[in-house]
Symmetry: C2
Subunit: 533 residues, 2 copies
């Protein structure tokens, strides 16, 4: 049987646009002689439209477009993902379209995390039998569910519809390989691609043999439609974004696929930025270039995503800026062929101090004065953004966001945070990856000691532990949910651990007003972590 | 049987502090001869600790403190609310403590909204019988659930543990009265009070007779412990924050309690602000006073919450500020006896234009220049906040937040948004309520046409429909989830409706970075509404 996986890039909430894309692919698959074409989870509406799912008009429009797609399904069967109401309840469903109509609905069984707010779980397992093609559909993502495994075993092939976002690992592949082996049945895994603000759907759709071997894989982060000849007539369909416990991974079989986390993170961030602009009709972006590492990496990624002609940067030096910062920033802008302007913040800073003099008189230089500099930079970038219609990109990294090392309404400004889920130690790795073929980011930017340059001779290490130590502590606390005592027991300094965790807790309020962060881990701020202030 | 409702103010996530409060009340209730003392839902940990519920250390600490409370429960029975793990699953439970130990757990049945991300639902209904006191416990909030009703009928009295936030209506009372009547059983409803960033737990615990009459009500927004003599020995316990469909309300019996929405909204906002500061050890607040209505109302509320000696305001006029704005602002500050300073933004604004001159040269005055003024004000307020350790209060109202009428990183600044869930037309009502006994807010501030004063002779009505029309359209769209066509069908101008809804959709990005909004409706931004950008 000729089956096509359609790995497409949908737009969240844009039902008409998504359905045009689906219909075009159905026609193409028909021309290519496919019997079955598989789209991903919620392909009709995009993932995840949140409270739009509570609106009757939105659900009605999904249904209308579904009917439209169905009418195109003659001499071919399509399975699309769509929110569907049945008996007054909303389900996340795979919809089988055939003979010009909606043939059957298969509701997702295990509903995870955010989706619980909208969708009802389904515990029913069912098969679809018809003349030309036998499709058996099940819905769940619990690998331990014996009912579902039994159900899958009765099919010749299992189809998994997914909307899996990149999270810094390939556990989805190892898990699916394991399931295929366990049930001795091939699995066809269809995912979508595309940046959707915080989430970057990773693609990497794949086919696994009944022996648990990954036979083929579609690319990460690119649209592709591929046809497989699967020696089967019965297909089981599975809607799923499996959840993993960290400890369970070891027991899954390896897919023996090379997984370069930094290269994929790089590509995920580029796609996130590209789609953020494309899906909102922004063409150009701007950012402040400090000469430091974070803005340098963001600039290199932005040029990749939008082209150097669509990026404009500003050097915004103060009296505390070092000459090497300015030189490094200029070198990078020239290397990347990006328009740059230098706007000194010194006159504005002095005027701000004069304006505040009546109330600040006699008080020593401190945090207020440091933050004024950061906020003036934010103000100038936003002014340029307003004037030229460019989006401002945030350059804060995850380590800084975690401990609140940055000024609210200054450093934290931006339409999208590119590095907000990338620890500082990984920002260095990204810089080395960007420089893999030639020196793009100046060596001096990579090797010099990080500094915010908001007061004379300031260094990040004045306020924070070394980033290797800081990141290791943060990782244990944030990603592994370890307690203070557990982290100290791993050999970290109790004083440093206590201080770090206190900073994390104290700065929830800054993250509350942070721009959306592109998630490249399982624990991104704003997207995947909610804490009381 | 002497039963006490303990209507207390807990702190979200502060387990030790909450439990000290619970233990003190248990001792007091013992001295008063109570047999049973009832605390509210999640009283041990506060509501809702979000992802802290995913941490083993947090759950372990809840359990530790629960044991500590249990040891105090001799010669008295207490029911507290606490997250509890059973068979590897986390439940939102009522815990019955007696004879110095945890006697039995009753898990909440129907888990709603945000809580679904953390808690497992329970479908088991059970009673607790012992020598001295018979407690029957059920868990669900589905008024249509016949099993639960049957279960309740076998008790002499139903206890409802709740954590109900103020949402602008008293449907919880009408619904509980209806249930009591339907099952012919008295209901004791125990709620908590207190501001918890976005949520203001309203109190208003009450006792309903078997005839559906509200016999007694504890105050809104105040801690109180009250003892009731209930002629019963069997008690059914019910953990619940019922959900209501708007259309269902009419069929509930009336409680005949006067419900003054504006007065309660006023008190909710004052408590939210008071607790936001008290629970974070902030003593003082600051805000920009424009002479307009919104900042005037926020100032009056802030003086109520923190006292005039803890509030400091800044007049930040520009070349576009009118003299009456300055006069009205000064009159209000003097009336409320609040320290005020005037810092002109003119020098900063001119310096900003000079700084931007190289890139803005030859371009006309526009949004960029307007926003610079707002951001300079934000910068000065934040500088004062940093220098003096005061929090900045946001003064944006819900109508503005909805259509994005305000500058990101300027008007939108603040630690807490006081009016972000109050439509402009209700801000007028609040102003009249504040002036109910004497003129506090100058009459001119209330009667003049609203203006942002960012360009010559600007009026809100240049960009927006009249607030009566705007608010009516927004209400249909936001609170009633009506579609564009449905709203037009109610008689609004199609052009105005289309423009308004487009503005709402376009400005999700501003609200993403908005401060937490105090919710006083069922559809508050940041707290209760999540949309794709």
């Amino acid at each position: 049987m000729k089956i096509s996986i359609a790995q497409l890039n949908y737009t969240n909430g844009s039902i008409v646009k998504n359905c045009e894309k689906i219909i075009a692919r159905i026609h193409q698959a028909k021309n290519e002689g496919c019997e079955l074409v598989i789209f991903s989870e919620l392909s009709v509406c995009g993932t995840l439209p949140y409270d739009l799912l509570l609106r009757n008009d939105f659900i009605a429009q999904c249904n209308e477009e579904l009917q439209k797609i169905a009418r195109e399904c003659t001499n071919i069967t399509a399975i699309v993902g769509c929110p569907v109401v049945e008996n007054g309840k909303l389900y996340n469903s795979a919809v089988c379209l055939r003979n010009g109509q909606i043939e059957q609905l298969f509701h997702k069984n295990y509903i995870e995390w955010d989706e619980q707010l909208y969708f009802t779980e389904n515990s029913e397992l069912k098969y679809l039998h018809s003349n030309n093609l036998n499709i058996a559909a099940i819905f769940a993502n619990d690998i331990e569910n014996q009912h579902i495994k039994q159900h899958c075993k009765h099919a010749d092939c299992v189809v998994v519809l997914s909307s899996q976002a990149f999270c810094g690992n390939n556990e989805i592949h190892t898990q699916l390989a394991q399931i295929a082996k366990e049930i001795s049945t091939p699995i066809i895994y269809g995912n979508c691609v595309g940046g959707e603000v915080s989430a970057v759907f990773e693609g990497a759709s794949a086919v696994f043999s009944a022996e648990g071997k990954m036979e083929e894989m579609l690319p990460y982060f690119e649209e592709e439609c591929k046809i497989f000849d699967v020696p089967c007539r019965d297909v089981a369909c599975y809607v799923s974004v499996p959840q993993f416990g960290g400890g369970d991974v070891a027991r899954y079989v390896s897919t023996n696929q090379p997984f370069n986390k930094i290269a994929l993170t790089h590509n995920a961030l580029v796609l996130a930025l590209k789609d953020f602009c494309a899906k909102r009709n922004f063409k150009t972006a701007t950012l402040g270039l400090s000469g430091g590492l974070d803005s340098a990496v963001v600039l290199a990624l932005t040029v990749q995503a939008l082209g150097s002609e669509n990026v404009r940067v500003f050097l915004l030096p103060s009296e505390f800026s070092s000459q090497h910062s300015i030189d490094d920033a200029v070198a990078l802008a020239e290397k990347l062929n990006v328009q740059y302007d230098t706007l000194s913040i010194v006159p504005l800073y002095n005027t701000a101090l004069q304006t505040l003099q009546p109330i600040f008189e006699g008080l020593p230089f401190g945090l207020a004065e440091e933050n004024i500099q950061s906020r003036l930079r934010g103000l100038l970038l936003m002014a340029a953004s307003n004037k030229f219609g460019s989006i401002v990109l945030n350059t804060t990294n995850k380590s800084e966001a975690a401990v609140g090392y940055g000024t609210l309404y200054g450093d934290t400004n931006g339409a999208l945070s590119i590095l907000g889920d990338v620890y500082k130690t990984d920002v260095y790795r990204l810089a080395h990856y960007i420089n893999r073929n030639e020196e793009i980011i100046p060596q001096n930017t990579i090797t010099k000691a990080p500094s915010a340059e908001l007061r004379p001779d300031q260094k990040d290490s004045d306020s924070l532990p070394d980033y290797e130590v800081l990141d290791a502590i943060l990782y244990e606390f944030l990603e592994n949910n370890q307690s203070q005592n557990e982290i100290i027991a791993k050999g970290f300094s109790p004083v440093v651990v206590e201080k770090t965790l206190r900073l994390v807790r104290m700065n929830e309020y800054k993250r509350f007003q942070f721009p959306p962060v592109v998630a490249v881990s399982t624990c991104a701020f704003t997207a995947q972590r909610r804490m009381p202030l």
